[in-house]
């Protein structure tokens, strides 16, 4: 099979699984998950083959795997769609395939496959547990099959996005994921909170999407193509960069880049469209791991990486263009802002959610300052360790739910970290893998992947003299290490703080295996990108990542020169943050003892409240009152309803003042009256006497004869 054909086939198994499960196998849980996991495995296999073949191609950047077909007739020409695997695509495909497959596998255990059905469970709500021999045990998810169907459709969307050679199909994948995100956040649609979170996610990202659609339309109309390889040639980019648009002084390239970037702001939950991601934690945890950490939110960053040549068109290497400044600002601000909120959250998944927003901010900031490879590197390492952390948190929650079922006290929130503590003994696999993930997130020096990728971003910022970005990101990195250690300390260290935590239970192999696999990558993936000039260990392994991914661009970006300042900064903030997190929270037992539960942080800087007052309520008023009541029913229908009375008025006027008096009375009744009057007055001559009649006849004859004579003969 040619590689191109294989690339075309990669997204197909999951979507076939979706249809198979929805149409045929949904009654059988075992069959459905076999179909789902099997499909994910097939795609994984295909992706790995493609990846290995891509590694074997010399100068893959110049000669990528590509193939396209005409899809949409547009006037005299066709819009072509196709697949493309260049170095960036291959690298992304690699982590996407692994994380997706792992999450499919994990879902089997997470949804309690093999457990009995719950006594009171029904579709739309999380399972409540079943009673077996007087014990309460976890019960299987009632919509188990449906979950795998949705995951399959989601995986399809992600694969489509990654293998696309053009913006249009990329957008298709992007939106399909948006739909799946909606469906999966609202998976337990019976919970009002989940229902609202799903809508919030869809609508917030849609704000970005409509801007992106405009950007695509703009790009398409000025270049006549949507294919990456055709847009990113020097002449096109140069033209785009030199055409002014009159909007905020941006060039065409700049405006398009900003419009497309707003799509990313929505999808990757960047400020100010970040509000949906924390609420998205209402979905089942595998969903949080897959969609809201490893793949979909990464897709936003991936889109910016893809459009990097457009973003940086006209950038000479010094003095950021306005659009780059904008991107850098959004990313940097998001990184620090989300990190401050994460510090004050108590829900184990929400901490991770804000941490995801913050880390995506790092990548966006990196792209804004032109650090292409560093952004891609952090994207991939982050996907591994954040998926790991989410799955780990799911495992923790699962273990805690076990405890809750054991004690029967359903008031205890199994996601609140203050209800945990000491879980390291109960859940060793989860603990050690979570520790690896947490350290990678914190950027624990040398061994973890997160260190290398984060360090590269900081080094790049330093090297290009973006000191404000550098300083802010360093501070954000410190906070990251701090809240991560807070999380680990509260969850796993110390002694159990509740009865439930004492009875927590390690999760089944289907859940722990993915944890182990992902922690392997959370460590080793950093080693493929060690800078060559790094003291002592630099150059032992080649800086494969930089060489490989860097060649995606026509002009291979230079790695920043080694400097001690960013390196020491990375090490200090990571270790300092971890230490601070441990020592501050070592003895904290209740939220009241936590000094950092500051209201403004706890309440996420009041963004939800502000948006509600400024956007949502006015929109509701505008629709329900202004448009529906005032404009349509009041004003427009009001005008229409005037026509009724007017026509009626004219009609009755005609009747009352013309028809009735003149036609009816005067002409109609009047002629009858006149006839009657004449008849009545002629009656006296009808006497019945022959003589009188004869005389009358004679008179008439004389009169008529006289008249005739007078007029005709005379």
């Amino acid at each position: 099979m040619t590689t191109e054909l294989l690339i075309w086939l990669i997204p197909l198994p999951p979507v076939l699984a979706f249809f198979l499960i929805v149409l045929f196998t949904n009654k059988s849980k075992a069959l459905s998950h076999s179909v789902g996991v099997g499909a994910a495995f097939l795609s994984f296999l295909g992706a790995m083959i493609v990846f290995v073949r891509a590694l074997g191609v010399e100068h893959l950047g110049e000669h990528p795997f590509e193939s396209s077909i005409p899809w949409l007739p547009t006037g005299e020409t066709w819009l072509e769609i196709g697949v493309l695997i260049d170095p960036l695509g291959a690298a992304v495909l690699f982590f996407v395939a692994i994380t997706i497959f792992m999450i499919f596998l994990y879902s089997v255990g997470y949804h309690n496959f093999g457990q009995p059905a719950g006594d009171h469970d029904h579709a739309g709500l999380p399972p409540h547990g079943a009673t077996v021999h007087g014990h309460t045990v976890p019960s299987v998810e009632p919509m188990y099959s449906r979950f795998f169907a949705f995951l399959g459709l989601f995986a399809f969307g992600m694969y489509v996005l990654v293998i696309s050679d053009n913006l249009l199909t990329m957008f298709v994948g992007w939106e399909i994921m948006g739909l799946c995100s909606y469906l999966l956040i609202g998976f337990w649609y019976g919970k009002p909170s989940a229902r609202n979170a799903a809508i919030k996610a869809f609508m917030t990202t849609r704000i970005g999407d409509v801007f992106m659609l405009i950007g695509i339309a703009f790009l398409y109309s000025v270049t006549g193509t949507l294919s990456f390889r055709e847009i990113f040639n020097e002449t096109t980019l140069h033209t785009l960069a030199s055409v002014p648009t009159g909007v905020l002084g941006l060039s065409a390239a700049g405006l398009i880049a900003v419009l497309l970037f707003i799509g990313t702001v929505g999808k990757s939950a960047q400020f100010p469209l970040h509000v949906w991601l924390p609420d998205a934690m209402e979905g089942p945890t595998p969903v949080s791991a897959m969609i809201h950490a490893a793949t979909m939110v990464s897709a936003g960053v991936y889109a910016v990486i893809r459009m990097f040549p457009l973003l940086t068109a006209g950038y000479e290497g010094h003095g950021l263009t306005p659009e780059m400044t904008f991107v850098a600002f959004i990313g940097t601000f998001t990184a620090i802002f989300a990190a401050t909120i994460a510090v004050a959250q108590n829900d184990i998944k929400r901490v991770l959610a804000y941490s995801t927003i913050s880390q995506l901010g790092f990548m966006i900031a990196a792209l804004g300052i032109g650090a292409y490879v560093a952004a891609a590197f952090h994207l991939i390492t982050h996907a591994f360790f954040k998926a790991l952390l989410f799955l780990g948190s799911g495992s923790v929650i699962h273990g805690m739910e076990h405890g809750v079922l054991h004690t029967g006290n359903h008031k205890v929130d199994p996601q609140d970290m203050f209800n945990m503590g000491g879980l390291r003994k109960k859940m060793p696999f989860t603990f050690w893998t979570f520790l690896i993930g947490g350290f990678a997130l914190s950027g624990f020096p040398l061994v973890t992947a997160g260190f290398w990728s984060k360090d590269e971003i900081l080094a790049d910022a330093w090297y290009h003299h973006h000191y404000l970005v550098f300083g802010t990101l360093a501070l954000a990195a410190f906070l990251t290490a701090f809240y991560t250690m807070r999380q680990i300390t509260l969850t796993f260290l110390g002694e159990p703080r509740t009865e439930e935590a004492k009875h927590a239970h390690e999760t089944p192999w289907t859940m722990t295996t993915p944890l182990v696999v992902l922690s392997f990558f959370a460590i080793t993936y950093g080693w493929v990108g060690i800078p060559e000039k790094f003291p002592l260990i630099g150059g032992i392994f080649p800086n494969w990542f930089h060489d490989f991914v860097g060649h995606t661009l026509a002009e291979v970006p230079k790695a920043p020169e080694f400097s001690w300042i960013p390196l020491l900064t990375s090490i200090v903030v990571a270790l300092g943050g971890l230490a601070a997190g441990y020592f501050v929270y070592r003895n904290v037992k209740t939220p009241a003892e936590d000094k950092l539960q500051i209201p403004v942080l706890k309440n996420k800087w009041y963004f939800d409240e502000i948006y509600n007052a400024v956007f949502i309520k006015p929109a509701l008023w505008f629709s329900e009152v202004f448009v529906s009541k005032w404009m349509d029913k009041g004003f427009i229908d009001g005008i229409l309803h005037i026509f009724g009375p007017i026509t009626g008025g004219v009609g009755s006027a005609i009747r009352n003042y013309f028809d009735v008096p003149i036609i009816n009375r005067l002409i109609g009744d009047g002629s009858a009256d006149a006839t009657w009057w004449v008849g009545k007055n002629l009656r006296p001559i009808q006497t019945g006497r022959i003589q009188q009649y004869l005389i009358l006849s004679l008179i008439v004859i004389f009169v008529v004869g006289g008249l005739l004579y007078f007029f005709l003969l005379a």
């Binding site: 899809w71 739309g124 249009l168 399909i176 009002p192 801007f211 109309s221 505008f622 529906s628 427009i636």
Partner: protein, 507 residues
Amino acid sequence: MEFINDHLLSLILFLPTIAALIMLFLPSGETKLLRWFAFATSLIPFVLTLVLWNNFDPNATGFQFEEKYVWYEAINSSFHLGVDGISLSMVLLTTFLTPLAILASFSVTDRVKPYMMLFLFLETGMLGVFMALDLLIFFVFWEIGLVPMYFLINQWGSANRDYASLKFMIYTMGGSLGLLLAVQMLGVLFGTYDLLALYERWNSLTADSVLLGMSVGTVKTIAFWAFAIAFAVKVPLWPFHTWLPDAHTEAPTAGSMILAGVLLKLGAYGFIRLVLPLYPLEAKIFAGVLAVLAVGAIVFGAFGSFGQTDFKRLVAYSSVNHMGFVVLGIAAAGLAAGTADAHIAMSGAVLQMFNHGLSAAGMFFLVGVIYERTHTRNLNDFGGLFPLVPIYGGILIFTSMASLGLPGLNGFVSEFMVVRGAYPVLTIYTVIAMLGLLFTGAYILKGIKSVLHGPMNEHWAHGEHKLTEINTRELFVIVPLMALMLILGIWPAWLLEVINKAVVALF
């Protein structure tokens, strides 16, 4: 066989009428027979349309399968029929939706015979508009279509049907008055109503010649607006749209399907077939005005829909929103005539007509399914129905997503093309229209949320109120629609190529 080939259009056009007349002689009490007879006979035009599609040559320019008969010799109006890629796709939509609408009407038990007959008459009326190549014939069919629909709403509608049917009838007829006058004027001026002749002669008039004592420019401007207002009411454009929520909401389910699925397209088709070719200059001058009205429909349609608490009204307003995109595309094509932008915008507009026909018919049908069971359309009475009717729920989400324009389903392709075509020429309008696109999401999700999601609805879960799942007959109505939505989303080229070639030849 040869007879069929030579008279394909007349056959498709009049078979429904003949079937309706035959029904006159069937016993009124045999409802089963009447239903199946109507359904079976409505399938014949569909099959013939497939033959038509198959024999149609998309590469040939001009109209095909033309038929011309003497009709009204005194004023030189002939019965002239013909189709090109644009009208062919509309004929396909009509003959495809009518059997489904009839099948959806199998639950009607009241006076089945006149009901089915009216539907068949309605089909002839609609098809006539799409096939007519003579202005007078166009107008005749345009008005004929109103009558059966009036009675369908007035006799089989829900509570507020008198008001709604009257508003529908009067508004459309009132809008058409100017159209009739303008048609007469053209006929008097040129001594013919034949469209092909008119295209040529009307546009060859030089600007300095005098007509009826006025300059050509003035006459054309007046005639342009006479045409445009008639079609704007039908589409409907903002602010002529308020008849639509009433009529759609009060009509019986199948009536709404056809009303939204086909009748609204008559207005847009009028713009494409008559306004743009007859008044290219005016279409360019007034493109901005049309675009304002279209964007008004898109934005206010979306907000209006979001503000409803009646499920059917919500769907009805969504038609205003979606048809706005059709006219935005038409306005852009009028403004940029002859360019690639115009071709893309216009092809997008025609495809959007087809797509909206599918999704609106589907949505109205699904509203009908739930209304038949619960006898309420109030969104506040629903919520939490998903666990009770999972299959229906899945279908509703699928159809809603098609309506929302989710990529991968049909609506996206056409909306994307309209946006792409309109953006370079009507930039600001297109950008404002995005606000409408955003709120399309809001009302669609509101519909899903209010009907399906939420804690399980105990009221409809047990006893006499127990909600039953969608049945097999209903599945036969909705599945073909869903299949087409998916096919057009994945591979739109089969339809779009036919449309596109006609558009390139015309504009």
